[in-house]
């Protein structure tokens, strides 16, 4: 009986721990930028956290505001900037992956006419077959706060 109660407590403790750590895939600090003038491409940066005990693979990303969303990585190799498309992104168990300038990022291609600073944007991340995370945010203007006019 004592063993049964002990096992039940342990099971409850594990469940509580899992529910307390949130959904398996969490996406935060999302920044979606409007394309710069004269261009039809833009970029998004964010932090992706895997709260689960096993690796999660993001297979595809879509947005109603852009014809194409591609996961890219910028690398400087021997002084040459090379940007390559990745066909997926694996987030190790209980880890974070950062999409930041000069590294991993989402390339947003062919924006809809409505894409502009202050307008809404949605990103849909499909992972591990059936998993789906939908993130909504507001489109930002790139470098707007620091732009020089001299």
């Amino acid at each position: 009986m004592k063993l049964l109660v002990g096992s039940l407590c342990l099971l409850l403790a594990i469940s509580a721990c899992d529910s307390a750590s949130g959904p398996p895939l969490e996406i935060s600090k999302v920044k979606v930028y409007a394309p710069l003038p004269g261009t039809r491409t833009s970029v998004a940066y964010m932090t992706i956290r895997n709260n689960s005990a096993s690796a999660i693979r993001i297979g595809s990303i879509e947005s109603p505001q852009f014809d194409s969303v591609m996961l890219h990585e910028t690398r400087i190799e021997d002084g040459v900037a090379r940007m390559r498309m990745l066909d997926g992104l694996e987030i190790p168990a209980r880890s974070e992956v950062f999409l930041v300038d000069g590294g991993l990022h989402l390339m947003l291609d062919q924006p809809a006419a409505s894409v502009a600073e202050g307008e809404p944007a949605t990103l849909q991340f499909a992972y591990d077959g059936n998993g789906l995370v939908i993130v909504s945010t507001t489109i930002l203007s790139r470098f707007a706060d620091e732009r020089t006019n001299r």
């Binding site: 003038p37 261009t39 491409t41 900037a81 001299r150």
Partner: protein, 218 residues
């Protein structure tokens, strides 16, 4: 008497030691002064940029600026330039580098309103997709003092090859084009000579502080 004679000798010896100590002290002050003066006159050197021992004249080339006006070697005479090669559909490193260059230019202007300001030149390595009009809108979004330049690859190579700048455009399919290009920023002096280069990764402070030293040293 013996006692007094001994004291005289002791006092004389002490005076001699005192004189030697004063002499050493004075010598130390003089040497320190010379060293300090020498240190103050040593010119500060750029910490991040690689400066060529002898500036190399650029080869001539015929490209066009974002106003569709000729852009040649002579367009670089009379002012300093910081040149970056890229393409407007590059979402990450190209706008980041141009932003940092524009911020550095602004920082130089703030720290010394009388300082000459380098012109920022963005040269497209993807002229098939970068039209004059798109290039114009793009460079103007980084503020004034930024010139967009484009031209055919053969003509562009006349400028890039001697500078050691690499680029390659590979259209993988109808939708995807892979463009690789050197990430360095080339510094050209007012005589249209290749003077220095900044290697990636780039920092605003490094651009600003080193460019001020480089421009002041000429």
């Amino acid at each position: 008497m013996k006692c007094c004679k001994f004291n005289r000798h002791t006092r004389a010896a002490q005076s001699g030691k005192f004189a030697i100590a004063i002499s050493i002290l004075l010598l130390g002050v003089v040497v320190s002064g010379f060293l300090l003066r020498a240190l103050m006159t040593i010119p500060q050197l750029p910490e991040h940029a690689t400066v060529l021992p002898t500036p190399a004249p650029l080869a001539n080339f015929a490209l066009a600026n974002h106003e569709d006006q000729p852009f040649t070697r002579d367009s670089l005479r009379g002012h300093w330039s910081m040149i970056f090669f890229g393409f407007t559909n590059c979402p990450d490193i190209c706008p980041l580098t141009l932003h940092k260059l524009a911020q550095a230019r602004d920082s130089i202007a703030r720290s010394d309103p009388d300082a000459p300001l380098p012109e920022i030149v963005f040269i497209s390595v993807d002229p098939d997709r970068d039209s004059t009009e798109s290039l114009k809108q793009y460079v103007q979004s980084f503020g004034t003092g930024v010139t967009g330049v484009r031209g055919e690859h053969d003509e562009l190579a006349k400028l890039t090859k001697p500078l050691g700048i690499f680029f390659n455009v590979d259209q993988t399919d109808d939708k995807n084009t892979v463009v690789d290009h050197s990430a360095a920023v080339i510094v050209v002096n007012e005589n249209a000579e290749f003077h220095a280069l900044f290697s990636a990764p780039h920092q605003i402070e490094a651009f600003a502080s080193d460019m001020q030293l480089i421009m002041a040293s000429k």
